[in-house]
Amino acid sequence: MTDALVKGPAAEPEVIAPSPREEMRRRAKSHVGLIFGGTVVILVALIAIFAPFLAPYDPYDQDLTRRLVDPVWKTGNWGNILGTDALGRDYLSRLIYGARISLMVGFGAALIAGTVGSVIGILGGYFGGRVDSVVVYLINVKLALPGLLIALSLVSIVGGSVTALVLILGFLTWDRYAVVTRSVAQQLRGNDFITAARAVGASQTRIILGELLPNVANQIIVIASLEIAIVILIEAALSFLGLGVKPPEPSWGLMISEARNFMFFKPHLIAIPGFAIFLLVIAINMAGDGLRDVTAPEGRN
């Protein structure tokens, strides 16, 4: 939007103002939260992608003769850096593979929810009238539903697996995307550049995809960053409750659940996956906040 508005009359050659993109880059470079959050998220993503090369052991391979080995800071043994769990599986390897599940569920669900929500929201906001009434009705119905409770019941009906979780959570978290994209589309649809596009005879699809979508993309990304964090937490909670990913899959929530028995005796078994969830969620949130600050500085907090 900013691009289109600022680039109206030809700029005076002697005034060298930074372009909005340059300004954004400058803000991004000085934004500590964005840099920290982004780095952590990228790092975790890399760990997840290269898990087979990074993990020292097979995360499923149990060795009952080497159960509950303490981590390196207690034993000084670098063979199992984070020790082993109750079935003698390497904890570090499970943590590394667990990142895959968290990210897969988080990003997978966000992708579905983002697509569904944005389509609904943009259609409602752009077309208005009856279409919008239907969209508002759908959004209201969705907002009235208790998400986690429905997720719980659906997962217990269809059974837990990564695919099931991605689909269920994807179709349960689209409401926020719809709300935001709808109101942005509503604001934009009367703007000159849309009218101009219409005047030159662009089709509805062309207008929505070519003119509207690029202008709501920033909002979608910011919401996605918040939603990914929420979905990751829900996955952990469901797995903790025994409804999410099935053992022996190494999900962080499941690791916490399995370590519950050792809470008083081997607290590191809970603390390690707990810290991993905490770090990833806070990093995603910080990155999301940062993105919003950088792209829409007027809404900074």
Partner: protein, 519 residues
Amino acid sequence: MSAISSILSRTATTCAAAILATGIATSAFAQKAKDTLRLAFTDPIGTILIYEDSKPEGGFMAAAVFDSLVCFNSASGTIEPLLATSWKWLNDTTLELKLRDDVKFHDGQPFSAEDVAYTLNWLVDPNSKLRFIENYVWMDRTEVVDKTTVRIHAKHTFAPALVRLATAAMPMLPKHIHGDPAKRAEFGIKTPVGTGPYKADYVDSNKGIGLTRNANYPQGSACKSPASIGKVSILPIPDQQTQIAQFTVGNLDALRIYEKDQADMLGADPRVEVTGLQGLGFNFIAFDASGRSNTKPLLDIRVRQALMRSIDRELITKSVVAGGNAKVTDDLCFRNQIACDQTAKPLSFDRNAAKTLLAEAGYADGFDVELLSTPSVYGLAEALAGELRKIGVRAKVDRATFAAYRDKQRLNKQQILVNEWSSGGLPDSYATSEYFFSPGPRDYWQDKELQALSKEGAATLDDSKRRDIYKRIFNAAVERAYVLPISTKPAVFVHTKEVQFTPGAIGTYGAELYQIKWK
């Protein structure tokens, strides 16, 4: 998000308790002087009436507050007198019992043949609408002969009749209270009056259960002893971590533990003792050999044999089964159980042989399968899945709640079951044979021969013939690779050094309150 915040807050509470524990752990290990034992139930019961609530905890309370007609001595494997002094079969379907004349209910009213006839006739009355009616349907009616004599008329020959009467699951109720329709509905909560070694002071789903020793217990014997500890209070604490926290700070004297590592780690405290009481419980893994769950590989006996041979039962038992006295077992019944015999041994552990068998069956690359497990064996099921993965079988574990397990079983979704079985507290091989091979939702083998044998076993009165029948059933179960028994399953109690647990209980809870003593 409320679930998450509640999890977080629960975790925080327990962590706080742990910190507390290290601080004041030395206090409050002196309940003996007060003669009050404090226990906790993970699965609280709302009524002391086993006919309405048959959980293990319900059986534990039933045995404390009530008495059955006769008593099973697990040391000798025989049935001994309790409320009845003697009994004899007048013919194949009529059992006559002589009763004691000196027993009184907790409210002072005398116990008589009227109470027995009332209880047993109420059980078979269709208007009573009892959930576990199948336990009583063998009885037709019970008549009073005189004040101390009753006759039970069975509908058909039923071999385990007497042993059924010996379990805590068949307590005698007072006709003058339970027989009053106005008092019946709340009998187990407000007036649970029995003849047992303990009197119930209060039953409250929030406060728990309070009991006082019944000083007048003439029917006490080696088989069911009078109570030793004066007062007992049982708190409802559904979360095991909270129980452990309460125990560590000295608010509980004993605690039932389900996971091996918790028992081991708590036992490392020098002020704490761990006792494993072996009753009738054992762990097993069972395969769907009838195709009910549509798991094609399991239809091939070589695949089932391969799975059996891939499991290192010694290592698994040592590593994940709680109670230091748990042992690998080859049998589906216990030798002190009535009519128990088995000669067949499961195939020995041999991972290479297992791989060869799988390859021969055409599954060299393994297959996907799910292990259904119930809460008390989650750890075991995961360990078993890990063993199966070592021969290439991609096993997953469904950690099902008890209700979910029953549903899946009913809906033909049980591919492999990992579970424990403790004969429902019935010390007769009949219980196990019915559990596995009577037609119904549990039967994933649908082996007509074993179904018929099981039926025959229940209707045969001659003990040696019955023993032979059950031997054939249990041998076949192992030889046909239907069921692999893994280990015995002791009930594990963690307690202070002041408390002493005595083995010998056959009930599903694993201990009997009247057998717990101060040292």
